[in-house]
């Protein structure tokens, strides 16, 4: 009897609270990662081009500010970043709470992170290969695409996987300030309401999401290694 009651309550919570929250979380992660990958990739390319010692066209004047911004944004605890950015979020989007409003701080926090990860992945490419490509008369742009991107693809996939998992975590945190999603449900309907069922269901679902992301990442990584 007790068991059936429990299942019924759980189903109710799941259908009305948790399932919609899962979709919110997935949407937040997907949109944020899309923005982070596009912007982060462009920034990473710029940093790889201008890196003072390993860059294709070393340029300290461009690299230094980029690097400082990337470091300072990344050193912000994410909760504080959301609060700090609140006025800007309100100015741009008209509101501070909700799914759309959460995407801005999530992206601002994520872009430098992704950029740094991709930059590191790309700088790992053997400098000898770059010299080799130069010796065949390739331009810097061609070297970036044909050599650096091509050779660092497995490392880039790993970085994106890491960033996505990180983003799932940040999304939960963003829930604390009104973004919704699993984090918000776990906190307000679980933790603050002394409802362990909701809390731990959310925790387990978050774990599963992270596992799935990692699994997809690993499969893609191994596929990218191919026969080499």
């Amino acid at each position: 009897m007790l068991k059936k009651e429990f299942v019924d309550i759980w189903m109710k919570y799941f259908e009305q609270l948790i399932a919609p929250a899962i979709f919110v979380t997935l949407r937040l992660v997907a949109v944020t990662m899309l923005i982070c990958m596009c912007c982060g990739f462009l920034l990473a390319c710029l940093m790889v081009l201008t890196h003072p010692s390993k860059g294709l066209r070393p340029n300290k004047k461009i690299y230094a500010p980029l690097s400082i911004i990337a470091n300072s944004v990344r050193s912000f605890p994410f909760v504080l970043l959301i609060v700090t950015l609140a006025p800007i979020t309100r100015f741009i989007l008209g509101t501070m709470i909700g799914e759309v409003a959460a995407i801005l701080p999530l992206s601002v926090g994520g872009i430098p992170f992704v950029a740094r990860l991709l930059e590191n992945a790309m700088l790992e490419v053997d400098p000898q290969l770059i010299e080799m490509s130069r010796s065949f008369g390739l331009s810097d742009g061609e070297i970036l695409i044909r050599v650096i991107l091509k050779e660092s693809t497995p490392a880039i996939i790993n970085s994106i996987t890491l960033a996505t998992i990180n983003c799932v975590g940040s999304t939960a945190m963003a829930g604390a300030v009104g973004a919704g999603g699993l984090g918000a449900v776990a906190l307000s309907y679980g933790f603050y309401s002394f409802n362990d069922v909701v809390l731990y269901t959310c925790v387990i679902i978050t774990l599963i999401i992270v596992q799935i992301v990692q699994l997809i990442g690993s499969v893609l990584y191994h596929r990218s290694l191919g026969k080499q």
């Binding site: 000898q128 080799m132 065949f136 008369g137 191919g226 026969k227």
Partner: protein
Amino acid sequence: MMDEMIIIDGVSKEYGELKVLKDIHLHIQKGAICGIIGQSGAGKSTLLRCINGLEKFDSGKILIDGVEISIENKRAVRNIRREIGMVFQNFSLLERLNVYENVAFPMKSWGYSKKEIDQRVKELIGLVELTDKMDAYPKHLSGGQKQRVAIARALTMEPKILLCDEATSALDPKTSESILKLLKDINDKTGITIIVVAHQLSVIRDICTHMAILENGYLASSGKTIEVFVNEPAALRRLQAYKSNEANLSIVFQENHSIELSQMIRDLNLDVNIIDMQHIGMDKKTVHYTVHVPNEKLETCMKWLEKKKIYASRLKGMEQIDA
């Protein structure tokens, strides 16, 4: 003038205080295999990189087939690099591409048609005898095979010049010999000018028609390999394994004529102490002897050798050289 492929005219380069190249003058003929040798840090790799514009130099000029390199003009430098293939010590293959794709890499980047690429790549993979490894990835190749792929890749754009930067230094002696033989064959077949940078004298002896010795950024000696060996300038002797002061005569016998050494010994009733003997060229037909003959017989030896038209020269002791 026309048969000079590379003219290096007074090239100097410095990194801050450190002078890496000091007023280098070197002319390299079309079709020659020129070895550049020296201790590590002598500036040989830097000189090689100046030739295809990978490094800037501070003064002097370099002409490739009559065209002066100016590193400031990016398009011109790219076009010159197209005419110059390069092979590296660590092979520098793209790990994520197979043998075929690695060889095709330069042509693909320059936008050749698939058909042209396919024909040329297959021909070159055949030339380096790796047809059965066409789909293999670099990870599964031996060092020698990797260097063959790199050589095929360097030849795809039909370059006029092939630069080899310590191309055999990472290989065992036997593999190294097969790579050198391949380079020699390519030179024979296509007449391509090859520049080999090495720190092992054996590489120079085996395949180089000409050689240049760099010491601390200076061009210490240069010329035809045989002539440099006969004259044994101080720079060469510093690279040699033996450290004897006794040697006073250097002789090169060509075309399997080393039998004449014993003839000379018999004719002149000599006591000869052979201090060093080495083959020049992979066919082992040319032999270089460094010997000691009694000083009073040196003059007669020289006359005998001159009459037979055998390359020879008198040597000074190392103390005299250093002084």
